[in-house]
């Protein structure tokens, strides 16, 4: 337990320190949100309609941005070998690393989303829904991304490949996240149905992610 706590503290410290990427994802998210109106035009009605989708897709992309470094940095300096060999179950280690990544990427993105949503003229009641769905959905994005990070850990140019591998798996999260949000604005479905499925997807990936990522790490370091 202390080992996991130490690892968690180390991950957070590495992300927050100079050279870490804690706020980079939020800046990237802002850039995505800024670029979209240049494409679709500044019409506020249009932006309000597609706002939730822009926010969700922006978060999805921003969340992928640095996740390829999740294990790669440890692999390069050799600490990954120590982590794999340690008596702590690798699944737990992976889960803690993913959790730390979510704390420094998914959570800031979630907090920034309502702010950016106002820029896109998203109605106020939907801002809360955005925040809530992202809070429930970003863990799924992170834990699915963790699988991709582990699969591509030994590859030199894993970043692009990772996106190709994991984005198809994120489609359900995207669908239910955006459905729940738009349900608040336009209906006709209740908010709770897609939201509960979103939560279920998150819980499922919470189990699948560490299991698959740990298996991939063991296979990579053989």
């Amino acid at each position: 337990m202390t080992a996991l706590k130490a690892l968690f503290a180390r991950e957070l410290a590495l992300a927050v320190r100079i050279g870490g990427g804690a706020l980079m994802a939020v800046v990237f998210f802002l850039i995505v949100v800024t670029v979209i109106p240049f494409g679709v035009g500044p019409d506020l009605n249009v932006l309000a309609r597609i706002g939730p989708a822009i926010l969700w897709i922006g978060v999805l992309l921003a969340n992928l941005l640095a996740i390829d470094r999740l294990f790669q940095a440890d692999q390069e300096d050799g600490s990954l070998d120590l982590i794999v060999m340690s008596p702590v179950p690798l699944e737990m280690t992976v889960a803690v690393k993913a959790l730390a990544y979510w704390m420094t990427t998914g959570l800031p993105l979630t907090l920034a989303a309502p702010l950016f949503g106002m820029m896109l003229n998203v109605p106020p009641q939907a801002l809360g829904a955005i925040c809530l769905t992202l809070l429930a959905g970003t863990p799924a994005l992170t834990f699915i991304g963790t699988i991709g990070a582990a699969l591509t850990v030994v590859l030199r140019r894993g970043g692009l490949l990772l996106a190709i591998l994991v984005v198809p798996l994120m489609i359900p999260v995207l669908i239910f996240g955006i459905s729940a949000t738009t349900a608040v604005i336009t209906g006709p479905t209740p908010f709770l149905t897609p939201f509960l499925i979103l939560v279920a997807l998150s819980l499922f990936s919470l189990v699948l992610g560490p299991l698959a990522a740990a298996a991939a790490l063991r296979a990579s370091l053989d």
Partner: protein, 247 residues
């Protein structure tokens, strides 16, 4: 002989060499008969007219795309649990074939949709699921190609294949949910709840023919993969021998 005998690569090579010609012949026979039934014998649909004839290749292609992924997933279990080299060979040989059938399903789906819906691509639940499946095939193939040593990538790709396989039903369900949300059921369904025997029989014959064709292609591709690995192993030995002779 048992399954374990077949699992031995050398014996696999000798058995497969014997049955593959028969499989090709059977595939040509069944597919020829199926195409005759599909194009000549089967009636036109009362709603879609002759366009329904695209179904006889679209549905088998989509089915084969799914079937090949299932085969990859089963082979991946073989790779992960028993670390059997032939399991990886099987998965690797099936991927491009499955991708090709999925591609055919996409293109024929699009060609079927244009006269019926008036657009080349409609984000219909089934077509979209097939597109996601195609993307997953591309991911698998890309990951395989990223490892220069086939043995190294085998287990890693197997993990991806299984993760993808577990997710397929979830993706399918989600896409259907999304589809019913955005498109009211005003569009014509492309298949009725029940199909008359005059259409079902040609379809079943085509399904059988495509299955045999797939097995023939898969076994041939597996043989190529086994040979490729032998060549690679011998080239490495040859290079080592040359290096020691030179030193």
């Amino acid at each position: 002989m048992g399954l374990t005998d077949l699992a031995n690569p050398t014996r696999f090579m000798s058995y497969s060499a014997r049955i593959i010609p028969w499989l090709w012949a059977l595939a040509v026979l069944v597919l020829g008969f199926g195409l005759y039934m599909a194009l000549v014998v089967s009636p036109e649909d009362y709603q879609q007219g002759a366009t329904v004839r695209i179904m006889y290749i679209h549905v088998p292609a989509a089915y084969m795309g799914m079937g090949a992924y299932t085969l990859i997933a089963i082979s991946s279990i073989g790779t992960l649990v028993w670390r059997h080299p032939l399991a990886d060979v099987s998965a690797r040989a099936a991927a491009p074939i499955g991708a090709a059938f999925t591609f055919v399903a996409l293109v024929t789906g699009s060609l079927w949709g244009k006269p019926m819906w008036g657009a080349w691509w409609v984000w219909d639940a089934r077509l979209t699921s097939v597109l996601v499946l195609f993307l997953m095939y591309l991911g698998l193939i890309a990951l395989w190609r990223a490892f220069d040593d086939p043995a190294r990538g085998a287990r890693i790709v197997a993990i991806l294949a299984l993760v993808g396989f577990v997710n397929i039903p979830i993706i399918k369900y989600s896409v259907e949910w999304w589809n019913t949300l955005h498109q009211p059921a005003s569009l014509m369904r492309r298949d009725g709840p029940s199909m008359p025997p005059s259409m079902l029989v040609p379809l079943l014959v085509m399904l059988a023919g495509v299955s045999v064709l797939f097995v023939a292609m898969h076994l041939s591709a597996m043989r190529n993969e086994v040979l490729r690995r032998r060549v690679r192993a011998m080239q490495i030995t040859a290079a080592r021998a040359a290096a020691t002779a030179g030193a």
